[in-house]
Symmetry: C2
Amino acid sequence: MISLSVLKWVPPFARGSVKEYRVRWALEEAGLPYAERVLTPADQDAADYRAVQPFGQVPVYEEDGFALFESGAIILHIAEKCEALMPRDAKGRARAVQWMLAAQTSVQPAVDAVTALDFFYGEEEWAKMRRPGAEEFLRRRLGQLAGWLKGREWLEDRFTVGDLMMVTVLRDLRHRDFVGEFPALAAYVKRAEARPAFQRALSDHLALYAEAEKAEAAA
Amino acid sequence: MISLSVLKWVPPFARGSVKEYRVRWALEEAGLPYAERVLTPADQDAADYRAVQPFGQVPVYEEDGFALFESGAIILHIAEKCEALMPRDAKGRARAVQWMLAAQTSVQPAVDAVTALDFFYGEEEWAKMRRPGAEEFLRRRLGQLAGWLKGREWLEDRFTVGDLMMVTVLRDLRHRDFVGEFPALAAYVKRAEARPAFQRALSDHLALYAEAEKAEAAA
């Protein structure tokens, strides 16, 4: 049986962005059932969790006593079990991994630089000065990616973990209109979001916060 | 035959940090010969290069007409050919990938936040205000990693691509003394740097800039 550690509470802006939902999506595409292991903040800091995940992050994937962290590593491990996520030949696999890494290391940092200003540092003086440069760099990266996607349905000739990861990175911008400035990107994200596996994953992820949202709305 | 795109010129602070040297290191550990494809800035921007690498970065790996970018993806592709870089069993592979991703997505962003201030934005007013927070977060991450490494020679029970990637990330801090504040980390980096494959890779990487350094010294 597979389990996935998830967080009982996150601030509203993070709902729909916590990295466990990427893994849920991969598990849904692969048709693999899993259980949630819901963590409180105290659980995250507990010695037994840190002994597995030294940075205290979610998700941790566990399967019959085998533990793994880092959403990208977990998704690749799942993809090894399932051709729907990654081709079986060495070149096809390498290209899927290439796009997964491009999402995480060439696009995510540009996204995070802007979202950090939006969600964490908006009121700080340095953040106001930093914003124009961060947004310019993000637009350049998005433009390069949109250029690649022009005339393509997916990053390669079929859906892979590369698309799964890239779309979750682009969705972190959903509170702003950057993606909408690039029609090829906007269509790509929409295409991925239409996948039933994506919809199930996001809905199960957001269900964690339904109770908190009700309480917040009543407050 | 394998080729690797590399840059003819980079600014002094980047010499020893350009991501192609990670791949050289993996190729040296695997005992695979390769040729350099030396790019000028114009080559990097040329349409034929962008058609392969939309972000214009190095390295691009090519082997008999098959092209691949993203240093992490290239290193994993090489590791598939070579047990010295990654165990053959599914769990051992997944744990090696986990640490490679931890290096690239949980440690590198904390490192880059500080090195960007040091090398690119040091004179800007916002950078001076940003520095204390960025350095505090970096020290927290390094402390968590040092805790994991205490009593361990490598991140798992043998050297893998996870260590290779983690050490190249930590070496990006070599202009400062952060790593030295954590004896377990400093010893770990030193242990990795003592590997003959690392030394050959770094020396071949730095040889690209020997001519520029001579010219700069004379100027």
